[in-house]
């Protein structure tokens, strides 16, 4: 009798509403390493999965956007803490997908630090981008930011983890919820990262992660009428045109990150948060009666 232990292989599923279902379509595709060797069977998501995920993100938006900014910051920090504890697993997966050890280590530590960076911004970008407006009439007039709502995101395709973290963090830091299509060719870390999200204090539905083909899903991600903004992280011009056209269906906001170098430490800023914020200006009268000069 052989006593050699047989390894238990991990099943990679998708992440919707804080749960890990398989794709509704029942389809799969094979993720392989650069040599073409089989790594895992991934869910090949369909239009139905996209719709489910968007509905879930919409459901989570009210609660997430109403959280105190400070609380969102603590939750992003918690995600970073969880990721720090699972570094080794990510390094292994990054290497399976073709990274050198050095590059993999850099990618995971940068991902953790970037989450901490955006954690800090959760209760700070408001003071950078908001204003009190000195209108000429007797009114107190101020402009404050609000999240846009549900954001669909096509993650950068060239990286497995840092790209995903870099586009997700500013969107949720600002109080939005999102549906992310992971890198098609390097999808492993996205699903493992979903497990990290699920074991942090992030409410289910705030981040939903799908795997599949950009060519199949981009139109669904960009033409759904209950989406407020689309974030597209590739430089393919015909895809960008499609996103822009679809966005016009219900005046979606768009953000295109075509040439960002996510592995660069400085490719992070509050402007990525601001990309998914509305500005709301409030006017309120200042009663100006009487003669109290109160000069002292």
């Amino acid at each position: 009798m052989s006593t050699k232990r047989v390894t238990v292989l991990k099943t990679y599923k998708i992440y919707i509403g804080g749960q890990f279902p398989r794709t509704e379509s029942g389809r799969y595709y094979v993720a392989s390493n650069p040599k073409g060797e089989h790594l895992a069977n991934m869910c090949l998501c369909s239009r139905k999965d996209v719709r489910d995920a968007i509905g879930t993100a919409r459901g989570a938006f009210g609660g997430w956007s109403a959280r105190a900014a400070f609380n969102r910051g603590q939750i992003l920090y918690r995600i970073a803490e969880m990721l720090e504890g699972r570094k080794a697993q990510f390094i292994e997966e990054l290497m399976l997908q073709g990274s050198s050890k050095v590059a993999a280590e850099k990618e995971i530590t940068l991902s953790i630090d970037r989450l901490i960076y955006y954690s800090g911004w959760c209760d700070k970008y408001q003071q950078i981008f908001s204003s009190v407006n000195p209108v000429a009439s007797s009114h107190f007039n101020f402009s404050a930011l609000e999240p846009m709502g549900v954001v669909t995101i096509v993650a950068p395709q060239q990286s497995s983890l840092i790209g995903l973290v870099s586009v997700m963090a500013p969107v949720i830091a600002g109080g939005n919820t999102c549906v992310i299509l992971a890198s098609e060719t390097k999808p492993l870390c996205a699903v493992t990262f979903a497990e990290v999200l699920n074991s942090s204090d992030l409410p289910g539905g705030v981040v939903n992660i799908l795997t599949g083909k950009v060519s199949e899903l981009l139109s669904h991600l960009s033409n759904h009428m209950d989406v407020n903004a689309v974030c597209f992280s590739e430089s393919d011009t015909s895809s960008i045109k499609m996103v822009k056209e679809n966005a016009a269906l219900n005046v979606k906001r768009t953000a295109f990150y075509e040439n960002e170098k996510w592995m660069n430490e400085n490719t992070q800023s509050p402007y990525f948060i601001n990309d998914f914020q509305e500005v709301k200006t409030t006017w309120h009268p200042i009663e100006n009666i009487g003669g109290a000069k109160s000069g002292y």
């Binding site: 400070f70 800090g120 911004w121 200042i286 009663e287 109160s294 002292y296």
Partner: protein
């Protein structure tokens, strides 16, 4: 004849208010018999060889002995801070600096219960307040400022903000741990190193914080905590190698500091006394306003620089507000600060109790009418019943001077202009409160009141993101929020 039906509805709590004691356990508080000075990452014996007692003001029992730092010790601490600044902290990448500060925040959260109990034992404040306000807010302050460490260029566009160097920080006894957080967190986030001196009656939580800082593995010398009284503080202020003084305390001492550093390049922020006007208009939601008055003056035994210690009530609702206030005051429980039912704990020190009692006498001599509740107070320890004065004049000393106790002076007014003039007629300008249902009136008041913080239909709210600080003789500089960064940077 239809008799005028008087509204005699009155809150009656007598029968139900005899609550069984609900004491928080002291067992979580690990207090050493003796505390040395925290210099360069280690606890060191004071070169003065002297120690003083710190007591529990609730029962006058000794809690521990605290080192008394002399000028040699102060110098050691400043040298340690300077060395740490030049050799370590200045060169630490901002985002790594952030991680140390996050660690401190997390460790405060982990030690929360112990810190709350010690804060209450050492300072006399109700455990409910130290548990639900002081400690969590202190942790949040570190958490908030940690995030700024690598984002400073966004706070000061077109500038390259640089740290000042070594900050000497002196804090009061009313919110010992929280004030330490207000001081240390922004200083570290902006890349400065620190020598902090807590108040002599409340050193314990600052020393616990020193242990937490050790646990967080902060590089030695980045934070130094030295204990002692006024002389220690003076040595710190006058040390030539300090770049910045941050002081929270009385206006009297603030002026001494401002004068002492004149002629040096030391920068300063001063958060000083106050005599806040809490203004109730006749269209205010009166029950909420009464809660606001109570919170405004009796929070932390009135040991609050922004306490709403001058109440202004519009004449048309004066009677009803006064009655509601008295009724509500009768429900307040003065007693053992460790009891979770306690609303008003112990006065921080014998000395402070004497100050308060002096003003109670003075107010009556000035012709004001005193009202105190009938509640029992413990036999041992320092306590003061909640007190209001009516029939006071604008020129009375109990209206003009900061008492720093549970004592409220009540005046009336007829018009907005009148109350603005009266409210601003003080050398102080830290805070104010306005109660009215009319938004436009609120903004008229906030435009015209000379105060650094104005609460509308609320009182005594604090948040790490919200700048706090005074106008006029209540000091200068702001703590909290983006504005709190500037105090520690060359911009």
């Amino acid at each position: 004849m239809a008799a005028t039906k008087k509204n005699t509805l009155k809150l009656k709590f007598d029968s139900s208010r005899n609550l069984a004691p609900a004491l928080e356990s002291k067992s979580v508080a690990k207090i050493a018999e003796r505390y040395d000075l925290f210099i360069n990452g280690k606890f060191e014996k004071p070169s003065s060889k002297k120690y003083f007692d710190t007591i529990n003001p609730a029962n006058e029992e000794k809690l521990s002995s605290i080192a008394d730092a002399n000028s040699t010790d102060v110098n050691k601490a400043v040298v340690a801070a300077r060395t740490a600044y030049e050799k370590t902290w200045k060169k630490t990448a901002p985002k790594e600096r952030a991680k140390y500060i996050y660690r401190i925040a997390r460790l405060i959260q982990e030690h929360a219960r112990e810190l709350a109990v010690i804060e209450t034992l050492d300072g006399g404040k109700p455990i409910r307040e130290s548990r639900d306000f002081d400690v969590p807010t202190a942790a949040n302050h570190f958490f908030y400022y940690a995030g700024w460490a690598d984002k400073l260029e966004y706070a000061f566009p077109n500038r390259n903000p640089q740290p000042l160097g070594v900050a000497g920080q002196i804090i009061p006894w009313n919110f010992p741990l929280l004030m330490a957080a207000w001081k240390i967190a922004p200083a570290l986030a902006t890349g400065n190193t620190v020598v902090l001196k807590p108040a002599e009656t409340t050193s314990l939580t600052a020393l616990k914080l020193a242990e937490i800082i050790q646990e967080a593995d902060l590089p030695p010398g980045v934070v130094n905590i030295i204990t002692g009284a006024g002389a220690t503080g003076a040595a710190l202020v006058n040390h030539p190698d300090i770049n910045k003084i941050a002081f929270t305390g009385s206006t009297e001492v603030g002026k001494i500091i401002q004068k002492a550093i004149a002629g040096t390049n030391k920068k300063a922020t001063l958060e000083l006394g106050g005599k806040a006007a809490n203004i109730i208009f006749d269209d205010a939601p009166l029950d909420q306003a009464v809660e606001g008055i109570i919170n405004g003056i009796f929070f932390n035994q009135g040991h609050v620089c922004c306490a709403g210690s001058r109440l202004f009530v519009q004449e048309s609702v004066y009677k009803i507000v006064l009655q509601k206030l008295k009724d509500r005051m009768e429900t307040l429980i003065v007693g053992d600060p460790l009891d979770k039912n306690t609303d008003i704990g112990a006065i921080n020190s014998k000395q402070q109790l004497e100050v308060i009692n002096k003003y109670l006498k003075l107010g009556q001599q000035e012709g004001a009418e005193i009202f105190q509740t009938n509640c029992g107070i413990p036999k041992k320890g320092f306590y003061c019943r909640p007190t209001i004065f009516t029939n006071v004049a604008q020129s009375n000393r109990i209206v003009q001077e900061e008492i720093f106790g549970p004592v409220l002076a009540i005046q009336t007014f007829r018009t907005e202009d009148e109350v603005i003039e009266k409210a601003n007629n003080t050398p102080f300008g830290l805070s104010a409160g306005v109660w009215t249902d009319k938004g436009s009136k609120i903004f008229n008041m906030t435009s015209k009141l000379k105060a650094g913080v104005i609460w509308a239909n609320t009182y005594n709210k604090f948040d790490p993101v919200s700048p706090f600080g005074g106008f006029k003789e209540s000091g200068f500089g702001r703590e909290g929020g983006l504005h709190g960064l500037g105090a520690y940077l060359k911009v």
